[in-house]
């Protein structure tokens, strides 16, 4: 069950848009970070069930943050939310262990799809243990 969600994006606007698409009847605990480095720090502290991660960010970019997060917890469920929609970007984040990539700007449908996939992934991980 998804309880804690971490959103890592340098844009206040982007974070608001994601939160706005997430909100429904389910009450998630949402945490936010404004760059990759802060995001990794918060990830280590709270161990979220799901992380939404931007790629183009100052301090530490999303590729580096994803790498760091997966090194900390190989089962971490990370959804990339980015404007960088090149095929190679998709290949790279998949190789680094991201669950999926969503193109910006987010929609309720794309975020709910991510929540469903993340939920299934968490169940698979739980069953495999």
């Amino acid at each position: 069950m998804i309880k804690k969600i971490l959103i890592i994006d340098d844009s206040v606007t982007a974070r608001f848009f994601i939160k706005s698409c997430i909100h429904d009847d389910t009450e998630y605990e949402i945490f936010e970070a404004g760059d990759g480095k802060q995001g990794v720090d918060i990830f280590k502290q709270i161990q979220p069930d799901l992380t939404f991660l931007d790629l183009t960010m100052p301090e530490m970019n999303g590729f580096e943050a994803l790498n760091e997060i997966k090194s900390t917890n190989k089962d971490a469920v990370v959804v990339i939310l980015t404007a960088d929609i090149q095929k190679k970007t998709f290949e790279r984040v998949t190789k680094l262990g991201a669950l999926m990539l969503i193109k910006k700007p987010p929609t309720k449908e794309s975020i709910h799809d991510a929540l469903s996939k993340a939920q299934r992934q968490l169940e698979d991980i739980r069953q495999s243990k």
């Binding site: 340098d10 606007t13 982007a14 970007t89 910006k104």
Partner: protein, 214 residues
């Protein structure tokens, strides 16, 4: 003389505009990457508000420009009237051209560009500008008309022409990003310069963009 209050966007408006530009630059990178099969590393977009008279100096310093830059300039007209510049600074154009003509022996920077090479740069600039501005106005639910791209080789300070909308005491909104072509170690700079006249429309469009998520 217009007041700076006419153009100043608040922090949230700037952040939203940056996010829109981020999406637009991403779209431009994907278009280019599809066409020339080179991975484009995006940088965090930058938005600045300054007097028109300061624009050329700003661009020259930000684009690491030297004496003989190649640039593609295109105007766009509509509620987002402005000028877009795609700049290939100081010899990077030769590296870029080698993507299209890998068999050609190494270029010498001082060699003049032939017509085909200038056309290639013009096309690359046109793709970056068209995808980027196109996506920006799509997100803001507007439309613009483009002038044909103009290829210029020379000193930026002498060659940037910002047209009638940019009297020296007018304010302008400048967006900058860098496209870095990974395997080739080339950087190209894209600047979008909006006249102060767009501010009212821009503020309204940004509010509408937010409303979709409220």
């Amino acid at each position: 003389m217009n007041d700076s209050n006419d153009v100043i966007l608040d922090d949230l408006e700037i952040d939203t505009f940056k996010e829109i530009m981020n999406i637009a630059f991403g779209s431009a990178a994907a278009s280019l990457s599809d066409i020339i099969n080179v991975y484009v590393v995006l940088s965090v977009p930058n938005v600045k508000i300054m007097k028109s008279a300061e624009i050329a100096d700003y661009i020259k310093s930000e684009a690491k420009a030297c004496g003989y830059n190649n640039l593609v300039e295109q105007s766009f007209i509509g509620n987002y009237r402005g000028v877009a510049l795609s700049i290939f600074p100081c010899g990077s154009e030769r590296e870029l051209l080698s993507i299209f003509n890998p068999d050609k022996e190494s270029y010498i920077e001082s060699d003049p560009l032939n017509e085909l090479e200038m056309e290639i740069l013009k096309e690359v600039g046109n793709i970056l500008i068209g995808s980027c501005v196109g996506k920006m106005v799509e997100l803001l639910k507007e439309s613009v008309t483009f002038s044909p791209p103009r290829f210029i080789r020379g000193d930026i300070l002498q060659n940037i022409s910002l047209g009638d909308a940019f009297d020296s005491d007018h304010w302008a909104i400048i967006m900058k990003t860098v496209f870095h072509f990974e395997e080739k170690n080339i950087s190209s700079y894209l600047f979008l310069i909006n006249s102060h006249e767009v501010t009212a429309s821009l503020k309204k469009a940004l509010r509408n963009f937010w409303k979709e998520y409220e």
